[in-house]
């Protein structure tokens, strides 16, 4: 028994001797030759044998307790193996006292799990099976034949590789089958399958060409009539041109070099901020193109008949949006409420072309008419709808990638394999990252080892009070600021009223005073997150992810309440009673307010970058003489971006050119932030889970930001009276009525469309259908959640099955070995050599 113990202890020392890879190579080579003599597949090596050895040792070790019991199989087997070890000189090298006979080795080396991904034949075979399954699934044959009695893949013959005498022929045949299968798949499936194969690029392109050749041959062989062949060629040509267009777009990627530099220095966390900025840029670009093409361009080409004189340009316009910009295509008030016609001129002067019918003039060119109110209504509606769909789609895709169904237990293993950020290229950042990983591993180890430290009741109570105080501070400060904004906006409102009565005031001063509210709000947005950070520092959270989530939650709460109060101010106070402040066009006013808010937000972000990053770095390097640079706070910056985007979405209805302003702002912000980060900041020290954070940000962009903006816009269109003297919806009760009027007009023109009109009236105005729609939606969500539950159960069942398979494998190996031992025992006494089976 003591000998077993000695034998086991020697192992770690032996392996310690294999420090340099050169030693390993020698071992590899000798075993390669050895096994290559006896089997056709590639060779095992000594380390694997040692593994098998140790496996059995552990089993043996477990059974040491049973060795004392007489007549136990394992005990006797151990002794026999031990004795054999001394005799088996031939297959061993000096390091491993191996116990497997060569016959067992031969069979072990051809096990499916050891050949997958290794030899080309095995890969081709494996993918042949996969394509077969995919074809079956696509053709939706009955799936009963897929399930044998036992669900074990090895028994079902999936990926089964054995020793074949004619390996060359078998490989060729399998390759033929694979090509056959590939060409029977649809194009996208084929492309996906080829991309996923771990073969070399040359082989993949060969497979692809073979598959395509066969397809072409098949097609050309058939007798197709002439016109469908033409259609076929046209489809091929369109597809090719579409692919080349996509690759062209791909090569034109915006900011590719800059992003690579940022990710090389700071890793994927900071990169995600810049990618988010890029995404927002594309959303705004889309919005700008749509509104520009359908609203701005037609109206700019046909200026309205009655436009009052504009004040001259003074520099203040860029900040306030009023003045020179006030009666321009930038704001709602400029847009006409009649149908624009191309070659009609109003020579009779002073005649307002009819309100919404547009048939008052007998113009010859009825074709070139453009119904501006309808265009405005539908453009805004459709662009919001499409943006919503794109957002929900990207949100769900992001969710699917980052939140897995099963709860992950393998934290440590994941840390080892998945925490290295391969995008980082700079040497100092790499060093920082490895230190980071080291610290995290140490922390995890400490956590795993000392999991049982429980806090006393006193400590728990103390922590609870600290959390309570911090939250009270945050909520109180938020509420205080929101109430402050409410009263300040009311004060500004009163001021405007006074201004409107007193016309001797300087108009420039009046405009400048409009900047007060945006400045106050921006200051609050800048300072309060600092207070939240201080509160979080006081609370001292254990896990950094909880701290990040809490910080995001508090910031979100602040911004949502601020925006809520502002929306009430605009829609509830200004829009409800515009005459009190002598406003002819309240939509213009609200549009200008939003423009001011956007610009102020940008200016304060610049100031924050300047003071927070640049000056802080100078101070910390020169003043405090520390090498620690400020850290780029990703969450806070992303929330600022989301806030700006919400303002842009709120303002599209009143200022169709606001997306253009937002685009300019984002472009400038990118370069400024990039410069600042490269100059002033260092990589974050805390671990940052990128894909979860990205999912959270996209969700925040969709749910509070976009949904909130669209609710506001819908409310405005549904129930607020548009101003009676400006804009495309003047003299209508609500903006929504424009849609109704259009349907009525259609009905009048073509009586056959009365069904449509009636259906429209029924669907849109009856709340019953809304309830039904919402109900169906909820039912669909419920079904999907049940499906996910079922999948979770299947996953746990499959894990149990895998464990059982492992047990089976161990059992079979030991049985195999014992059979070979039994066969060999009679011959062992005759010769010292063992014969191969």
């Amino acid at each position: 028994m003591a000998r077993i113990v000695n034998f086991d202890l020697r192992y770690p020392l032996m392996e310690a001797g294999l420090e340099s890879p050169v030693d390993e190579e020698g071992v590899h080579d000798s075993f390669n030759q050895l096994i290559a003599e006896q089997s056709q597949n590639g060779g095992l090596d000594a380390l694997e044998l040692q593994e098998l050895q140790r496996e059995l040792d552990e089993e043996g070790r477990d059974n040491v307790a049973y060795l004392s019991s007489p007549g136990h199989d394992y005990g006797r087997r151990q002794e026999r193996w031990e004795a054999e070890r001394e005799d088996d000189g031939r297959q061993t090298d000096s390091l491993a006292g191996e116990r497997w006979s060569s016959a067992t080795l031969k069979i072990l080396s051809s096990m499916p799990s050891r050949t997958i991904g290794r030899s080309r034949g095995a890969i081709i075979s494996q993918y042949y099976n996969r394509t077969m399954q995919l074809r079956r699934r696509r053709q939706s044959r009955p799936s009963i034949r897929d399930f044998s009695r036992s669900a074990r893949p090895s028994i079902r013959g999936y990926g089964m590789e054995g020793d074949t005498t004619d390996s060359e022929g078998a490989e060729l045949r399998k390759r033929e089958h694979l090509v056959n299968n590939l060409q029977n798949l649809s194009v996208s499936d084929r492309v996906r399958m080829l991309r996923g194969m771990p073969l070399s690029v040359a082989e993949k392109s060969e497979l692809r060409m073979q598959a395509m050749q066969k397809e072409q041959r098949r097609h050309s062989g058939r007798q197709i009539p002439c016109c469908s062949r033409l259609k076929y060629y046209i489809i091929i040509a369109v597809r090719q041109s579409w692919y080349s267009w996509l690759s062209f777009i791909h090569s034109l990627q915006l900011w590719q070099v800059a992003l690579k530099r940022v990710s090389g220095r700071f890793g994927t966390g900071v990169l995600s901020y810049f990618l988010f900025l890029k995404t927002l840029l594309f959303f705004n670009l889309f919005l700008f193109l749509v509104t520009g093409a359908f609203l701005v361009l037609p109206q700019a080409v046909h200026p309205p008949l009655f436009s009052q004189g504009r004040p001259s340009f003074s520099g203040l316009e860029l900040l306030t949006g009023a003045g020179y910009f006030s009666d321009s295509v930038m704001y709602y008030g400029y847009y006409s409420n009649y149908t624009l016609r191309k070659s009609c001129r109003v020579d009779t002067g002073g005649q307002n072309m009819s309100i919404s019918n547009g048939t008052g003039m007998d113009c010859p060119s009825k074709r070139h008419s453009y119904n501006m109110p309808m265009a405005y209504f539908f453009t805004i509606g459709v662009s919001f709808f499409i943006t919503g769909i794109i957002l929900v789609y990207s949100m769900s895709k992001s969710f699917g990638q980052s939140f897995r169904i099963d709860k992950s237990h393998s934290i440590l293993a994941m840390k080892v394999f998945c925490s290295w950020d391969f995008k980082v290229l700079k040497k100092s950042s790499v060093k920082l990252m490895s230190e980071n990983i080291c610290t995290q591993l140490k922390e995890l180890l400490a956590e795993v080892n000392h999991k049982h430290v429980k806090n006393t009741v006193c400590q728990k109570l103390w922590r609870l009070t600290v959390h309570g105080i911090a939250w009270t501070i945050c909520i109180a400060s938020t509420t205080g600021c929101v109430i402050g904004i409410y009263y300040f906006s009311e004060h500004m409102h009163q001021n405007l009223r006074l201004f409107s009565r007193n016309t001797h005031q300087n108009p420039l001063l009046k405009e400048a005073s409009m900047l007060a509210l945006p400045v106050v709000v921006s200051v609050i947005n800048l300072l309060l997150p600092g207070l939240f950070n201080a509160a979080a520092w006081m609370e001292d959270y254990d896990s950094p992810s909880v701290r990040t989530y809490v910080a995001i939650g508090r910031n979100l709460m602040l911004k949502v309440s601020v925006l809520g109060v502002l929306c009430y101010h605009w829609l509830g106070r200004v829009a409800a009673d515009p005459a009190s402040i002598n406003l002819t066009c309240w939509e213009d006013f609200v549009g200008q307010e939003l423009y001011r808010f956007l610009i102020m937000d940008f200016i304060f972000t610049l100031l924050d970058t300047l003071f927070g990053e640049f000056l802080w770095r100078l101070f910390s390097e020169k003043g405090l003489k520390r090498r620690r640079r400020p850290v780029f706070d990703i969450a806070r910056n992303v929330l600022d971006l989301i806030y700006g985007q919400t303002l842009a979405w709120l303002g599209v209805l009143f200022t169709p050119l606001l997306p253009a302003v937002q685009i300019l702002k984002l472009l400038l912000l990118f370069y400024i932030k990039k410069g600042s980060v490269m100059m002033n900041c260092q990589a974050p020290r805390k671990p940052y889970r990128v894909s979860q954070m990205t999912t959270i940000f996209i969700t925040l962009l969709c749910i509070p930001s976009f949904i909130g903006a669209s609710v506001c816009v819908t409310y405005t269109m549904w129930s607020i009276t548009p101003s009676s003297s400006c804009g495309p919806f003047r003299q209508l009760k609500t903006m929504f009525q424009a849609g109704k009027r259009w349907v009525e007009e259609l009905e009048k023109d073509n009586p056959s469309l009365s069904m449509l009109a009636r259906a429209h009236a029924y669907l849109v105005e009856n709340p019953f259908f809304l309830f039904v729609g919402a109900g169906i939606f909820l039912i669909v969500i419920y079904f999907h959640s049940q499906v996910v539950d079922g999948q979770r159960k299947i996953i746990s069942l499959l894990q149990e099955q895998i464990e059982n398979e492992g047990e089976d494998k161990k059992f079979l190996i030991t049985r195999l070995q014992s059979i070979h031992e039994q066969k060999r025992t009679p011959t062992r006494r005759l010769t010292s050599q063992d014969s191969t089976c």
Binding site: E15, E24, H28, D45, L47, E48, E51, R54, E55, S113, R114, G117, R118, V191, R195, G196, P198, S200, V201, S205, Y243, S244, L246, S247, H250, S251, Q401, S402, R404, D406, S408, H409, S410, I411, A413, M414, V416, F417, C418, S419, W420, F422, L425, K427, K431, S434, E435, I437, C438, L441, K442, L445, V448, S691, I802, E803, G806, E807, K809, K810
Partner: protein, 165 residues
């Protein structure tokens, strides 16, 4: 979607990169597929690989001869797998091969220890290294053979959304 046109564009750019590693070895004209191999020591001077702790293993995995000398086809293979748009399953297969230092199709404890040492550059004590490896194998090994087969590895990676490259 890899169209022929983007393949051609990428290939010419890659050929430029390949050539600048060893201009005296690599000819400008590759039409007759000469058998040229750029040695490992030159490949790992590329900026993308220079600071990567696994650079030797990465290059060895993609080389035909197993020693890290890449032909142009191997070079193209390496970039096609390592690029951002390649599918996750493919990256998982190659990641497994890279982490499998002794090439026995299993990530055993020694492989894991070597990986850890390369990651932390020797900052952890040997006891900590052993402890981490034991715990990691315990967590990820599903069929109980005390090493990670490809199925175990794939299962663990599938739960980690941050497996980027």
């Amino acid at each position: 979607m890899p169209s022929n046109m983007s393949c051609v564009l990428c290939c010419s750019r890659l050929h430029g990169r390949y050539r600048e590693l060893a201009p005296h070895l690599v000819p400008l004209d590759y039409t007759n597929n000469p058998d040229i191999r750029v040695p490992l020591t030159l490949i790992i001077t590329m900026p993308e690989l220079k600071e990567n702790p696994f650079r030797d293993r990465i290059v060895e995995t993609f080389s035909e001869d197993g020693h890290g000398n890449l032909t142009f086809n191997d070079f193209v293979d390496m970039f096609s797998v390592l690029c951002e748009t390649s599918p996750r399953e493919l990256k998982t297969i190659y990641a497994f091969k890279i982490y499998d230092f002794n090439r026995d199709n299993f990530i055993c404890k020694e492989d894991l220890e070597k990986t850890l040492n390369k990651l932390t550059k020797g900052e952890l004590t040997p006891e900590e290294v052993t402890l981490v490896c034991d715990k990691a194998i315990e967590e990820a090994d599903l069929d109980g053979d005390n090493k990670l087969s490809f199925a175990d590895f794939e299962n663990m990676i599938s739960k980690a959304p941050d497996f980027l490259r």
